[in-house]
Symmetry: C2
Subunit: 343 residues, 2 copies
């Protein structure tokens, strides 16, 4: 083997081991994802130019496209199912994008996907209305597909997401929030769309109720694990890797897993700190760093990760009676990746 060949082999090996399961899933489904991206671009068009402008600002910013990938994977797991998944995967991404636009208005976010948040660039008004447009367009795509079952799954998910977001408003700055409240919020605002994105796969493929339930459970548990890890990363990641500000949850006084865990064991002084910063929203320079110290002291990030790992385990179990193939392996690897990612 020539040196050049050796170098090429090393490079290809290292590329292959560096690639995340999400990258591999994208690569395996790249022809399908191309079609989904076409549908996305086509359907965010409008005679009112501000609409594609804002939609593409957010959608072109990339993001992991994890939800449409899940829909594709959970459909193709059951063989070739034609073109139906494309519209529906685009529909799932539109619902997600609409919730991001509204979330950023609600949270007053500064950054999203490594860029200035859309509400800061285009204003809250446009963000609310373009979110409404994308949400409506999602339903138009489902109607075009024509399955009432899919429409039920995704309209139920949408209602649950909004309900979860409202509940989150009422738990913010509220130290009486329990871990059950938190899991309810997380299941609704994040995991419900993961679950729906996965469940519609076997529905499209007509694979029967046990498979629908299995994929729904997989998506739900993956989504809960994903959000818990997100909430841990909000205290532990580096801003560069995360692509959004860290400490946002702290600043907004969100009651996430790490906070609830720390609060349960906190001594009087730390409780006082949490009351001032989270309940009374009275924060000053250095408070985020002190909060991070408190979370370390009570091992709250690690305990949060343990919770995430237990949902990851459930997600893995949900896959056991689904068709054995490369896609299933990648779906399983995706769970591990969700837990181990640093962003």
């Amino acid at each position: 083997m020539s040196i050049a060949q050796q170098q090429a082999t090393v490079k290809s090996n290292s590329t292959s081991t560096d690639r995340t399961p999400l990258d591999k899933l994208s690569a395996l489904l790249s022809a399908d994802m191309l079609k989904v991206n076409e549908k996305i671009l086509l359907n965010m068009e409008s005679g009112v130019s501000l609409i594609p402008q804002i939609a593409s600002y957010l959608i072109a910013a990339g993001g992991k496209r994890i939800r449409p990938l899940l829909t594709l994977a959970c459909t193709r797991l059951y063989g070739d199912t034609g073109e139906r998944p494309f519209n529906l995967a685009a529909s799932v991404e539109f619902i997600h994008t609409a919730t991001l636009l509204h979330d950023d208005v609600v949270d007053g976010s500064d950054q999203r996907r490594g860029k200035k948040a859309a509400n800061l660039v285009f204003g809250n008004q446009a963000s609310v209305l373009v979110g409404d447009f994308l949400f409506s367009r999602a339903f138009q795509l489902m109607v075009e597909d024509g399955s009432i079952k899919v429409l039920k799954i995704l309209s139920d998910a949408s209602a649950i997401i909004a309900q979860g977001e409202v509940k989150q408003l009422t738990t913010a700055n509220n130290l009486t929030t329990t871990m059950e409240d938190y899991i309810e919020v997380v299941s609704a605002k994040t995991a419900a769309l993961f679950a729906a994105a996965c469940e519609i796969g076997p529905v499209i493929a007509d694979a029967g109720e046990p498979q629908e339930n299995a994929m729904r459970e997989y998506g739900m548990c993956l989504g809960i694990a994903f959000q818990i890890v997100d909430d841990v990363l909000d205290y532990s990641a580096t801003q560069q890797k995360l692509g959004k500000s860290i400490g946002d949850d702290f600043q907004e006084g969100k009651m996430t897993a790490p906070v609830i865990i720390a609060l349960a064991s906190a001594d009087a002084q730390d409780k006082e700190f949490l009351t001032r910063t989270i309940e009374h929203k009275d924060q000053k320079d250095g408070d985020l760093e002190q909060m991070q110290q408190i979370l370390l002291k009570y091992n709250a990030l690690e305990q949060g990760m343990d919770m995430a790992r237990s949902y990851a385990e459930k997600a893995k179990n949900a896959l056991k009676d689904t068709p054995q193939c490369e896609l299933r392996e990648l779906l399983a690897d995706l769970i591990t990746f969700t837990i181990e990612r640093e962003y």
Copy 2:
């Protein structure tokens, strides 16, 4: 006839002439509307108490319930059609309520239906999210009904409404807005839901495409007339009758029919006034009164009403091949009322 009997007759006559066609429609369909109200109350329930709290704040504030009434009337015009219209009329009212919640956030409104706007009482965040919830719930109700055709009509309408609202953002404070732009905004943001509310009547009743088109045209033209009158009343009504602040459109620099008409004939001095107050948003005490004088000078309110009347005429024509009955008479009277109302 005894004096008491005479008095009773006079009273009943005067009551009957004082009642608006909307009141009469409500009375004729009161049993149905009771069922619709039950559906509305039932479906805004949620374990997250802030949701029914905000939804009922707005829905209990009354409003004219004109859209669900239109759905009921346009269904019952074709005979008894069972229980289907109840869920769908509630769905139409939920879409309307969701857009009101989002509109008030976008416009920064102070008043709605004679009360403090929901965003001021509960905050913009909750208004955005509860709007999303009601919107999702509307689709859940349609899914429960199960008609893809109805889902298509209402998801198309929802996308068009959002698009119209975004277009309105881009026309605000923009003196180059044409009457065509204005009619496009009005057709989308208001008339599309009127049209859809009416069209689903013959769809539910399975009355055939010509009837669907006729009722759609009726709703569309009624909706355009309704909005033009609204925009005239925003300069001419009394606040007490309107149940919301007058001059809101002026303050927000909205390019409505009266403004576009006046601008077309305005002399240099009046143009300067419009540029300062509407384009540059530089308004001071007394400007609303001066604006009203300018609208009078160019006969802009009366010309706006003429436009509304021409759409009213089209709405009347649309009814000519629909079943002749008391309901149709009331639908026709509703057009006249829309034009002649003072609120």
